[in-house]
């Protein structure tokens, strides 16, 4: 049996990419516009909030603790070298609140929920359930996408706060138990060095990441083609695309905030 290699022209690839970007933008815009149109499926939104928020809590708790502890562990040796081990709380708080808390939480929830959304909606596409929903007079973007977008953005905000707090606790554990940093000193440096800009950066990012995770997951789910194999492909693509988009967005948001508020 001979396999023929099918070559696609770069123009076709560019067209496909442009079309995908257009479709994604339209879906995202519609998911936001639906917040101002009736009906609002509050029951579905609560269900998704439970799925995303409560469901992701264990993984966020574990990663938050680990990342905070690792951050403290890795920076401690350098700080010790310069006699600045007492500044460890400052390093952990800035790192966790502005960058690692939102980023790690976003990536964890992307792995867990973008894939879940893509596979659930993809299965509904291939079994004609989305068509059935439209035929029954329900707008799938209102019923399925908007609740996921709202719930993910809302819950990621709170999950990030939890991850930040647990990161700080993890960092404290390492600083206090392994390097003998005083409890009051640690928490004072943590608290004193955080300024409005840091907290603002750390809390605006999860909202954007939540939006990215849900819209990318829903986009790949809703554009699933080709049966169960297509569902698998959509699931993988949703995780990869949302993770990459989160990292890119993180860079640009940080840069933008530096441009607005100035460097520390």
């Amino acid at each position: 049996m001979a396999f023929e290699l099918e070559l696609t022209s770069p123009i076709e690839v560019a067209k496909d990419v442009a079309l995908a970007v257009q479709d994604y933008t339209l879906l995202s815009a519609q998911s936001l516009a639906n917040f101002f149109r009736r009906p609002l499926y509050m029951g579905d939104m609560l269900q998704q909030a439970d799925l995303v928020g409560v469901g992701s809590l264990p993984i966020v708790v574990l990663t938050g603790l680990s990342v905070g502890a690792l951050l403290a562990l890795n920076s401690a040796s350098t700080l010790q070298e310069f006699g600045g081990i007492t500044l460890i709380g400052r390093l952990v708080s800035i790192g966790m609140v502005t960058e690692l808390g939102p980023l790690i939480t976003g990536l964890m929830v992307a792995g867990r929920n973008a894939s879940g959304m893509a596979s659930e909606l993809g299965s509904m596409i291939v079994t004609e359930q989305i068509d059935a929903m439209r035929a029954l007079g329900t707008d799938p973007t209102k019923k399925l996408i908007t609740p996921r977008v709202g719930a993910t953005a809302f819950m990621l905000f709170f999950l990030t706060i939890i991850a930040d707090l647990l990161g700080l606790i993890g960092g404290y554990g390492v600083a206090h138990l392994l390097f003998g940093v005083d409890t009051q000193q640690y928490w004072t440096t943590v608290w004193q060095n955080l300024v409005f800009r840091d907290v603002f950066t750390g809390l605006i990012k999860p909202v954007l990441f939540g939006f990215i995770i849900s819209t990318v997951g829903c986009y790949y789910g809703m554009s699933t083609r080709g049966g169960t194999q297509g569902v698998g492909r959509s699931t993988t693509q949703a995780v990869v695309a949302s993770s990459v988009l989160i990292l890119i967005t993180d860079f640009f948001v940080t840069k933008l905030i530096f441009a607005i508020f100035g460097y520390r």
Binding site: P39, T127, E128, Q129, D131, A132, A135, L136, G137, T138
Partner: protein
Amino acid sequence: MPPTLASENPAASAVSPSGYAIEFDKVSIAFDENVVLDGVSFQLPHGETKALFGVAGSGKSTLLKLAIGLLRPDSGRIFVLGEEITHMPERELFELRRRVGIVFQESALFDSLKVSENVGYRLLEEHISAEEIERRVREVLRFVELERTYDMRPSELSGGMRRRVAIARAIVTKPEVLLYDSPTGGLDPVTSNTIVELIMKQRDVYKTSALMVTHRLQDAFTMATHQFDKATNQMVVLPKGQHCEVPMSFLILKDAKVIFDGDAHELATSRDDYIREYIS
């Protein structure tokens, strides 16, 4: 023998301005290079059931999806209940779809919902009271003889039961038009017969207009040679000579075009070689 629904469809007799429940006017659609329908025209009069035939991939399911606005034609015009849906915005289509029921090929039941929630889905969306929803859902489930499945999940049902639940979901709002996509496909003869009887009952008792995609010629001929007797609550064979007196017609698609549109008698006496081979 399926039991009867408590109330008949008051909207079924409403006549649209175009005079037809569904009208296709030179409708064409292609997916990439593949032309699926090419200049297809036909009319479905009110109260009539039209059986759609054609080999696999001939565009029968596509035609049904066009008729409910799930797909848009590349050219031509489509009228449903007197309203042109060719370029109708999706939001307006949602309104029109409340008057049209569809039974999908694989039932397309929402697997995260119970049977009762599936059947009452549209009623829930219309914010009808819980008592009224339960009453109407139980009524249609009784109609398809599946009241016992009220609290079950779709995954617990057999293929035939899922198909009957899908019919219940389609008829719960008493639509003016019903679209069936292979309602008896892959089912055993006894279950198929039950479903044919349900479709016949919708046609003869509730006067619902319907498009029915099927691969089973015998189902369509059963519908052309029988009618539903309300008194005995079962289908009865029509006397010889009256076979074409029921509102039943046939449409055959071949190579993206309509090659036959007529009643059972015209189909049986057709001299077209392809049609003769198809029905033999």
